[in-house]
């Protein structure tokens, strides 16, 4: 407490008061002084540890949200409208995604989805509250996506992670824009379109969307409406069941000026690989932005490349080498204790990919905390260490 000249200072007192809530300070704003002060009495807990028993949205350690609306988009996709809890930052950029955790059978499952709403969004009928929305498409093997599309009731509390991602539309938008999307790849682009619509800054925007059949098109009506309202916006639909995959060579006839456009592409990995190659060959890589969706699937294969996020090191491992050993083999300071799965000293967060619990074969994935001494890589994965 105190300032440089040795006496008391307002800032010093404030810092002292805020200290107990420091770990969640970025979400607190002015309230942190109060939280910090109360936390001195409720230590080792935070006031929120009590408050969130009354209202789950007042969570101490993490953002929470409440699902306020579930809207069917197509047969296998739905939009979830979520009211974020206290501390959510609404100044994200269109195109970013959020992490969302859902409680199923007592366990929180964690996934990332693109936001489909423009920043600072509210809709009538929800009391003027600021909301966010995501669109989820059920994947054949996707346990959580299926659950979200077909079974999640309004009122459900979800965990949220702050919006992130570099697949964003710059503001003001470039003069000429091209969007290439396929399937649920439409979702981040929809957020960009809605933001342009809201800000009334539709420049010259061309959009090509691929879907299997007309019934599979998410947000088809809305795209058409935007098309009708904004002379600068052209959207074209390509149905792959009828015409096969869109051939990039056709770009020259569809959008002859594609080389001049700033392009945002989102869809299956194969499509993005082709696009990247095409743009590279044309010497236009600098104008291309792509977003790769991690496909929600079961972990495949044994072993892989383990990346240690914070140290930037990597290790190639087989399906029998524990993540702990993998880290140690490349000189990463891994926390450890018993090395046999009983002490929880070695727990780290998986920031991407899949790992497998050797003891029982269970699969763990992005967002899960795992015991590295008894977990192995199931495909490529990244650990937060």
């Amino acid at each position: 407490m105190g300032s440089k000249n040795g006496g008391f200072s307002v800032r010093g007192v404030r810092a002292w008061l805020e200290a107990p809530a420091a770990s969640v300070a970025e979400r607190g704003g002015k309230l942190n002084v109060l939280r910090g002060a109360v936390a001195r009495v409720t230590t080792p807990l935070l006031p929120d540890d009590y408050l969130h028993l009354a209202n789950p949205l007042w969570s101490a350690r993490e953002l929470r949200g409440r699902i306020v609306e579930v809207r069917k988009e197509t047969a296998d996709s739905a939009t979830l409208v979520i009211q974020p809890g206290w501390g959510f930052d609404f100044t994200y950029q269109p195109g970013q995604y959020i992490g969302i955790g859902l409680l199923v059978d007592g366990r929180w499952h964690w996934r990332s989805y693109s936001l489909t709403c423009p920043p600072d969004w509210s809709v009538p009928g929800h009391g003027g509250k600021r909301l966010i929305s995501i669109a989820v498409k059920a994947m054949p093997e996707g346990f959580l996506s299926s659950h979200l599309v077909s079974g999640v009731p309004v009122g459900t509390i979800v965990r949220l992670a702050a919006p992130q991602g570099g697949f964003v539309l710059t503001y003001p938008p470039p003069e000429k824009v091209l969007f290439l999307t396929a399937g649920s790849g439409i979702t981040p682009v929809l957020s960009m379109l809605r933001a342009m619509d809201r800000r009334e800054v539709f420049t010259d925007v061309a959009h090509l969307h691929s879907a299997r059949t007309a019934d599979d098109v998410m947000f088809g009506a809305e795209l058409r409406a935007l098309h009708d309202r904004h002379p600068g916006f052209r959207t074209r639909l390509h149905l792959t069941a009828e015409h096969g995959k869109f051939a990039l060579a056709d770009l020259d006839t569809e959008f002859p000026d594609w080389r001049e456009r700033h392009t945002w592409a989102c869809g299956p990995a194969g499509m993005l690989d082709e696009i990247e190659k095409h743009w590279r060959d044309a010497g236009r890589s600098d104008r291309l932005h792509v977003e790769r969706f991690e496909i929600e699937r079961s972990a495949v294969g044994e072993g892989g490349t383990v990346t240690f996020g914070k140290t930037g090191r990597t290790a190639e491992v087989d399906g029998a080498t524990s993540l702990l050993e993998a880290g140690e083999s490349v000189g990463v300071q891994m926390p450890f204790g018993c090395r046999m799965g009983i002490c929880q000293t070695c727990v780290l967060t998986v920031s991407s990919g899949h790992v497998r619990d050797l003891r029982n074969g269970d699969e763990r994935r992005e967002g899960d905390k795992v015991q590295t001494c008894i977990s192995v890589a199931a495909g490529d994965c990244t650990l937060d260490v």
């Binding site: 001195r40 807990l45 007592g106 046999m340």
Partner: protein, 484 residues
């Protein structure tokens, strides 16, 4: 010497121990597979109940100048602190609820209402204690560095104060634990002891000052005029929690039958042997649902040590299956009432306070520590009259041909008890007979001595008489000589 070879001690073959391990693994797997909503609800309710009790207790203490409000507040707070310590802090920190993936109920982030920082406790407890359970010199929980709980530890004069140290430890348990964990943390992390502002020191200092300030300054101050009463109530609640936590821990680890091990056992220990060590090294106590809850289900200490990271609410059902395994492999399953288990631990504490020369049993067959050597050189009836060789050999392990039952440690212990008792009785009898013979001989000699004495005395008397006579004759002449 505590157990150095658990295979020999358990009277099981290596293959038996391996299958036992597999069966325990399958218990673990089935519990893991069936974890779900029901369990999640259990812990969330426990948390809500604990928070509720604590808030109610704190609220009641605002009126603590009234005696009844003081009592109610103190009682509520004590119960809240016990639940917070046992069912929440201990179990969450073990990772029992990590499977829920909930950052608010996770071993990596949970901080408890005890003096020491959770993280330091986790290192000392989850790692040191649970990996090296009851291994002398490796598991610092074996007597917490101040009590001598096995004869394998040489007696020192300081142990004389053990009864007092025990009382002190019980009353200030959270401080004992905090200091204990702090020193282990420093040791494990290789922090130089003289470095004042080291990470463990700062963490420790921060936590204890917050805890002390909260209970003995801030809450009392909040209740204004009831400052003194609230302070007393908080101290009392901490004391109650300390005593209870202490009792639960001691009943889980130090009653007779909870065995100790030497580092030799650790060398090349197989997973099955690890399980077996946990089973033989821990003890349960009988408890109904309420007491089980208040002990954080640590009345199922054996199950907890086998599966420290499985949800505590599943221990009762796990216990049923573990007992079945104990029966099947003929292994002891140490349990008893809370009172009995504590008294056994209490007896050990006091017994081992005094030097070994006053103790009867050896470190191989004492009630609180035994070893495979206990069986060496004795003949167990179930083995058909074969005398057990040294601990190294296990060729006599067998399955009963008639019943098909495995002969394991439990039978061996029972029979050894009878055999050893009989052996002791015989030895005593022999001793008694030898003593009687000696006594007889002594009596005989005494008599001989007496006779000789009498004879001597007679002779002395005769000689005296002769001398006297001679003196009478001499007397007149002496008179004459003088007169001359």
């Amino acid at each position: 010497m505590a157990i150095t070879d658990i295979k020999a001690y358990a009277h099981l073959t290596a293959a038996d121990i391996e299958t036992l391990g597999q069966e325990l693994d399958s218990i673990r797997r089935s519990v893991e597979l069936s974890r779900g909503e029901r369990d999640a609800k259990y812990i969330r309710r426990a948390i809500a109940a604990q928070r509720g009790l604590e808030v109610a207790g704190r609220a009641a203490l605002f009126g603590s100048r009234n005696r009844w409000a003081w009592l109610a507040g103190t009682a509520l707070l004590s119960v809240a602190k016990i639940i917070e310590n046992m069912e929440l802090g201990h179990n969450v920190s073990h990772g029992q609820w990590d499977w829920m993936n909930d950052p608010e109920i996770h071993s990596t982030s949970w901080e408890w209402d005890m003096t020491g920082p959770s993280s330091q406790w986790r290192r000392a407890h989850n790692y040191s204690h649970h990996t090296y359970t009851n291994v002398l010199g490796k598991d610092e929980d074996l007597g917490f560095g101040i009590l001598r709980m096995t004869r394998d530890e040489p007696w020192r004069p300081i142990h004389l104060v053990q009864p007092l140290a025990n009382l002190l430890l019980a009353a200030t348990f959270e401080w004992g634990i905090a200091l204990h964990d702090w020193s282990i943390e420093k040791e494990l992390s290789g922090t130089p002891p003289r470095q004042l502002m080291s990470q463990p020191n700062r963490e420790f200092g921060r936590k204890i000052s917050r805890q002390v300030a909260k209970d003995y300054l801030l809450y009392p101050a909040l209740t204004g005029p009831a400052f003194k009463q609230t302070l007393k109530a908080n101290a009392m609640a901490n004391l109650v929690r300390n005593l209870w936590a202490y009792a639960v821990i001691f009943c889980g680890h130090f009653p007779d039958g909870a065995e100790k091990f030497t580092v030799e056992q650790l060398e090349n220990e197989t997973p099955g042997e690890w399980y077996l060590r946990q089973m033989l090294g821990s003890a349960n106590f009988q408890a109904g649902p309420a007491m089980a809850f208040m002990s954080g289900n640590l009345c199922y200490q054996i199950e907890h040590h086998l599966f420290p990271d499985l949800p505590s609410n599943r221990y009762p059902e796990i216990a049923v299956r573990v007992r079945e395994l104990a029966d099947k492999y003929d292994l002891p399953y140490t349990t008893g009432s809370l009172g009995k288990q504590y008294l056994l631990a209490f007896r050990t504490i006091h017994k081992l306070a005094i030097p070994d020369r006053f103790l009867k049993a050896t470190a191989d067959n004492a009630p609180e520590t035994s070893s495979e050597r206990k069986f060496a050189g004795i003949t167990l009836p179930s083995l058909g009259g074969v005398t057990l060789p040294g601990a190294e050999s296990t060729h006599w392990l067998r399955v009963d041909p008639e019943t098909g039952k495995r002969r394991g440690l439990r039978s061996a212990l029972h029979e050894a008890k009878v055999v050893l008792q009989e052996k002791a009785r015989q030895e005593k009898e022999m001793l008694r007979e030898a003593k009687a013979a000696l006594k007889e001989k002594a009596e005989h000699e005494r008599q001989l001595l007496h006779g000789a004495k009498l004879a001597l005395q007679g002779r002395a008397r005769q000689e005296q008489a002769a001398l006297r006579e001679k003196a009478l004759w001499d007397k007149p002449f002496r008179f004459l000589r003088r007169a001359r």
